[in-house]
Amino acid sequence: MSSQAVVIEGLSKKFPSPSGFGEFTVIESLSLQISRGSFVSIVGPSGCGKSTLLNIIAGIEPHDSGAVRIAAQDGANSTARIGYVFQSPRLLNWLTVEDNIKFALEAQNIGRASWDERVSQYLDMVGLAGQELNFPLKLSGGMQQRVAIARALAIEPDILLMDEPFSHLDEITARKMRVDLMHILERARPTILFVTHSLREAVFLSEEVYMMSVKPARVFKHLRVDIPRPREPEDPRLFDLEKDLVREFFAVIEQDHR
């Protein structure tokens, strides 16, 4: 049994071009591995196909060639559980917070007996204990996104996909959410693939970072962030790392333009 949670090999994806003639390549022969329990980020500018990649892994977008394999924790013959935190919360506003989480549990055929326990465990983890019977529209944007995180964690996913989950929040809320996510990760140890356009966010949260360039998306750098967690957002080592990466990023982008 391998310790890889996700293996992607030679993945390619083309879209029909907007002009109607031919097609353009969004992702070209992309390969990456995510080992179990690790936090991996993909950083790239907007439009580099990051969200497309997550959607392909999640199975809601087809791909043209290559392979995506997700290992199921509880044996090879069960299907892998995928948790997804989208940019917007995508909650079912007509259901209570509790029922939103139970929706995911029901969808995953998780035994009814464990529902209440999981709901309170994961709501507590994201700091929303006591909000079980509230409706999503009564919560702030940050709280709604916490519910979405609790929903994704509650199914105890083999891979948790996060697509710029804090990009729709104001900066102060986003900052708090990043720190809180760091603490959540000490209690639950999911495998996370996190997509962002913010290098700072990526280096703060991740153990591994893949940096991508645009059109077609390809990985031009893969690095490990060897600063032990939990980290402080003001850690100078993070700033230095970010500065170096930004420099490298611009070098690659300028090269592409030449």
């Binding site: 959607n55 999640a58 199975g59 809601i60 299907t79 995928i82 948790g83 997804y84 989208f86 917007s88 995508r90 079912l92 506003n93 007509w94 259901l95 929706f103 995911a104 029901e106 969808a107 995953q108 409706f135 529209l137 009564k138 929903r151 199914i155």
Partner: protein, 254 residues
């Protein structure tokens, strides 16, 4: 909830004015041609004094609700499938248009020809006229479904039934309720017309009977009674139901 507010005044005046005018005009005619408000009320009381009136109304209500429920079911299912599947949409769209534009009165006559004096005729008429409106509404709603929520449900591996129950139908509820309102208003009017043409008994039949006896006062009495009943059903059943279903929205507004 104060009734006497300054902005209620024009409405109140119009009611009083009409009653006075009606009273004045009714003096010029025989009470059986145009009854005064008081005489109309007396007629209504006399109708409800006889037990057979309740049977007649029950019979009509039974047809109204049978037609309404069938129309809502058929209309919603067709509308939803049309919104979700392009092939079904292009297959059915023009037929829905045909049904919407076909003269309603023709269905009333045709169903008597086809089904005779049976229970089927009025219900058939109601369904054929009402369900295309429901379809139009729900179809519109199904085209406006949030794809993001469907994707979310797919990633979490919701099966079709769960998707329908907790993701799609709740999004369609505003469209389903607005169809229910229109359908209810249409259904009872059509049911009465249809009964007038071909039914053993029912409120529509009462109306034709009094028409043939040239008793405008009794026609008005039956019409008014039925109207009050329909308004009560709307106020006491449909509205509270709607408020309950959409309580999650009101919560959000606070």
């Amino acid at each position: 909830m104060k009734f006497f507010r300054p902005d209620n005044l024009p409405g109140l005046l119009s009611i009083i004015g009409i009653l006075l005018l009606w009273q004045a005009v009714s003096r010029l005619f025989l009470p059986t041609f145009l009854p005064s408000p008081a005489e109309l009320l007396a007629n209504i009381v006399s109708i409800f004094g006889s037990p057979s009136a309740y049977l007649v109304i029950a019979k009509t209500l039974q047809r109204v609700f049978a037609g309404l429920i069938l129309s809502m079911l058929v209309g919603s299912v067709i509308g939803l499938v049309m919104g979700l599947r392009r092939s079904v949409e292009s297959f059915l769209a023009s037929w829905i248009m045909v049904l919407l534009t076909f003269p309603a009165i023709s269905w009333a006559f045709l169903s008597v020809l086809w089904f005779g004096l049976s229970e089927v005729a009025p219900i058939f008429t109601v369904v054929l006229i009402v369900f295309p409106y429901v379809t139009m509404n729900v179809w519109e709603g199904a085209k406006a479904l949030d794809k993001g929520l469907t994707d979310m449900a797919t990633v979490f591996r919701a099966n079709r039934f769960l998707l329908l129950r907790k993701v799609l139908i709740p999004q369609l509820m505003p469209y389903i309720f607005s169809s229910l309102r229109i359908s209810f208003a249409l259904s009872w009017k059509i049911a009465l017309v249809s009964e007038a043409f071909g039914a053993g008994h029912g409120v529509g039949k009462e109306l034709t009977y009094w028409f043939q006896s040239s008793r405008a006062d009794m026609m008005l009495a039956w019409g008014a009674s039925f109207m009050v009943l329909m308004v009560l059903i709307d106020l006491l059943i449909l509205r509270p139901w709607e408020n309950r279903v959409f309580s999650w929205r009101q919560l959000a507004a606070t």
